[in-house]
């Protein structure tokens, strides 16, 4: 859609509109590719797995293009260059070589190549173990630490570069699919059955993940940020993430906290270190330090928090969180300030 829009806005010249439009097709295709600028693209790999998958894509693409050219060359030769009937001898060998031997060898080679990369994608992890549960429509994320404890967060994955992290994927109600295109392939998440995958990210940066299996009304809004960090920075982050929430700073944030509890937010959300222990919605202990709110739907500014709390369904149709439309802007601002400060 962006491609066609762009073609329309940059394209038509008054003299020969038809031809100009035709000449713009390659440009339009480029504009489409620009969508793959790297935050969410298999073609700009940031990890071992996506590199392997990217190579697979290119090998298949080049092979397919060569075959396409070869086939069309044959058609051209048979219909234009040498349209007369061929000798029986030539026809027989054309069938044996071109119809049997060539496809067998080519497809066989591609199959061997394809199978040979599978073990790379199924290598066992040597990094952190992360349990991700698909909810409607967000991600529950739990890091399993060496001492047996877990660190709960949501809607964001952070990974150390240079090691393979293990994902234990599960789902609560319906099937979702976990996919960070820049880091690797996707894996379905089934209710009541844990699937396992590993990812070996290499290049630090912030990438985008997206649910890749239609899961209901707000499937398209079910995304997350995946940040690949230097190992030391990752350890420091996990340590901070494991800590309890910090107390509010300033009168407005304090009023926000009072409202947060008076409104019963703690019934559904946990803020570790406070009496809020709810498990229905995302853990909010450090929600202010995340890259996004509501699984990639909004940013994390005070305004974003306020407009989300006032009416989640407006941003995410079907979201289970009820609207807090009965709160005044003042009250919403105070709650938002408290949440934004939970870093």
């Amino acid at each position: 859609m962006t491609a066609s829009l762009r073609a329309e806005t940059t394209g038509p010249r008054p003299r020969a509109p038809r031809r100009a439009a035709a000449r713009l097709w390659p440009l339009a295709a480029l504009a489409l590719l620009a969508g793959c600028e790297g935050r969410q693209s298999v073609l700009v790999p940031a990890g071992e797995d996506s590199r392997v998958l990217g190579d697979l894509f290119w090998v298949m693409l080049v092979g397919a293009v060569l075959l396409w050219i070869g086939m069309n060359g044959l058609f051209y030769w048979a219909t234009r260059r040498s349209p007369a009937a061929h000798s029986q001898y030539l026809a027989n060998w054309l069938v044996i070589l071109g119809g049997i031997l060539f496809p067998t060898v080519t497809l066989g080679a591609l199959l061997v190549y394809g199978l040979s990369i599978m073990p790379d994608l199924r290598a066992t992890g040597d990094g952190p173990v992360i349990r991700v549960t698909g909810e409607q429509w967000w991600w529950r994320v739990e890091y399993e630490r060496a001492d047996g404890s877990t660190v709960t967060t949501a809607n964001e994955i952070r990974l150390p570069a240079g090691v393979r992290s293990t994902f234990l994927l599960d789902s609560k109600e319906v099937i979702h699919s976990f996919w960070v295109p820049s880091l690797g392939g996707k894996m379905d998440m089934f209710p009541g059955r844990v699937t396992e995958m590993t990812l070996g990210p290499e290049r630090p940066g912030v990438y985008r993940g997206q649910c890749a299996e239609f899961c209901g009304e707000s499937h398209a809004w079910m995304a997350f940020e995946a940040e690949v960090m230097e190992p030391a920075a990752f350890e420091a982050w996990l340590e901070a993430e494991a800590a309890e929430a910090r107390p509010p700073e300033g009168a407005l944030a304090e009023r926000g906290r009072a409202l947060f509890f008076a409104q019963g937010c703690g019934g559904c959300h946990a803020v570790r270190g406070t009496p809020a222990v709810g498990q229905v919605g995302p853990d909010l202990t450090h929600v202010g330090s995340r890259h996004s709110l509501a699984a990639g739907r909004l940013g994390t500014s005070v305004e974003d928090f306020a407009k989300w709390v006032a009416n989640p369904g407006a941003w995410k149709p079907g979201a289970e969180m009820p609207a807090y439309a009965h709160l005044t802007d003042d009250q919403l601002g105070a709650i938002a300030t408290y949440l934004e400060g939970l870093e």
Binding site: R255, A258, F261, C268, Q331
Partner: protein
């Protein structure tokens, strides 16, 4: 052949037109006598009454809600008290006569002792809930069929001969209370009936008032309470809300029933910690977090009722209504609809049992020895909030 068909059709058409004309004239010129004094001709009366009986018989077999224990004395008393408010004006009560005016209604409403007849509970439920067209018998004033069963329990008691005049007087007796208009009448159910009815002394006045207005304006369903709330002015309701919230009529009910400790533990666990489907109840309804120093706020008092010590049967009914999306209430009621939508029947029972067993003042579990002992008159909200 063709000619004959045409004659038949033509004759029928003319007869039909004449019939329509006669009917139209009867309506337009007021030829039919609607006098209740004149009444129906016996065959008309027979046809109407038979139609009524057969219609009930055809439809009453499958009530929308299954009957509870109809021998429950609290349910019988609740039904008797509602009957006195909403039904006795036409059907009278055992030991009393209908008024002379009511006796001249046509059809004449039968005295309750005849009205109960030999109807089955399902049939009684159908008649009370649906009402009877063109007879003066109104439909239940709420879209909630379950609270009709209280009236059915009372009618069953009359059917079985268990409600002579003296028993009737006991069932609807009122305490001598020093409260605003209607206080003794409200307390008749809210302080005397031993189950199914919420105790009001643990609520905030704003909450009670909001609930009464919701009943009055049809935003909350209950045939019993919408009748009660429509009998008084909003100002009178506000006065009553304040009086009851201040502990004007502490319930005479017995304290919580004995329960399997395991059930109570499950209730406590779910109420305090929630699950991944169910929010932690205590976050809004106490006891606990909401009242903690530095965490609580005054800003929403009145919206979320405290539940410690509330009546168990009432809690079960209300949680089911929330879960089924029937329950309305104040402007924040959508919060609770979402919170309760995934509750299972077992969870509802555990939560109600746990909450009912708490002491409203301290939030602690009532002592074991206290079960079945009458609750002493409790001074209003001494340690709460």
């Amino acid at each position: 052949m063709r000619q004959r068909t045409r004659t038949v059709i033509g004759t029928l058409a003319v007869l039909g037109a004449l019939g329509a004309l006669a009917g139209g004239a009867t309506v337009a010129f007021g030829l039919y006598n609607v006098s209740a004094r004149a009444g129906h001709l016996p065959p008309v009366y027979w046809a109407l009454h038979t139609t009524f009986r057969q219609s009930v018989d055809l439809r009453a077999d499958h009530p929308e809600t299954p009957p509870p224990d109809l021998n429950d004395p609290a349910l019988v008393e609740l039904g008797a008290r509602h009957f006195e408010t909403a039904c006795a004006m036409c059907h009278a009560v055992p030991g009393e006569d209908r008024s002379a005016t009511v006796a001249r209604m046509n059809p004449e409403p039968p005295h309750v002792e005849q009205a109960v007849g030999d109807w089955t509970p399902e049939e009684l439920h159908w008649i009370v809930y649906e009402g009877v067209k063109m007879s003066g018998m109104p439909a239940w004033p709420s879209a909630r069929p379950d609270d009709v069963w209280a009236v059915v329990a009372y009618l069953r008691a009359i059917q079985s001969g268990a409600v002579p005049a003296e028993r009737q007087a006991e069932l609807v007796a009122r305490a001598d209370l020093d409260g605003p208009e209607g206080a003794a009448w409200c307390a008749g159910c809210h302080a005397s009936v031993a189950a199914h009815v919420p105790r009001l002394d643990i609520f905030e006045a704003d909450y009670i008032e909001a609930a009464l207005m919701a009943y009055r304006e049809g935003r909350r369903e209950s045939g019993i309470m919408s009748q009660a709330a429509s009998e008084l002015s909003p100002e009178a309701l506000r006065e009553l809300a304040v009086w009851f919230a201040e502990g004007g009529a502490a319930p005479e009910r017995v304290s919580a029933a004995d329960h399997d400790p395991e059930l109570l533990a499950r209730g406590e666990d779910l109420a305090k910690a929630g699950s991944d489907d169910v929010p932690a109840c205590t976050a809004c309804h106490g006891p606990g977090p909401r009242d903690l120093e530095g965490f609580g706020g005054e800003e929403l008092e009145g919206h979320f009722p405290p539940l410690a010590g509330q009546d168990e049967a009432y809690l079960i009914t209300q949680l089911r209504l929330w879960r089924d999306g029937v329950r309305g209430g104040s402007e924040a009621h959508d919060l609770m609809r979402v919170a309760a939508q995934d509750l299972t029947e077992a969870e509802i029972e555990a939560l109600a049992a746990w909450y009912a067993g708490l002491d409203p003042a301290t939030g602690a579990a009532a002592r074991a020895g206290q079960a079945n002992a009458p609750n002493p008159m409790r001074p209003a909200k001494d340690g709460g909030h």
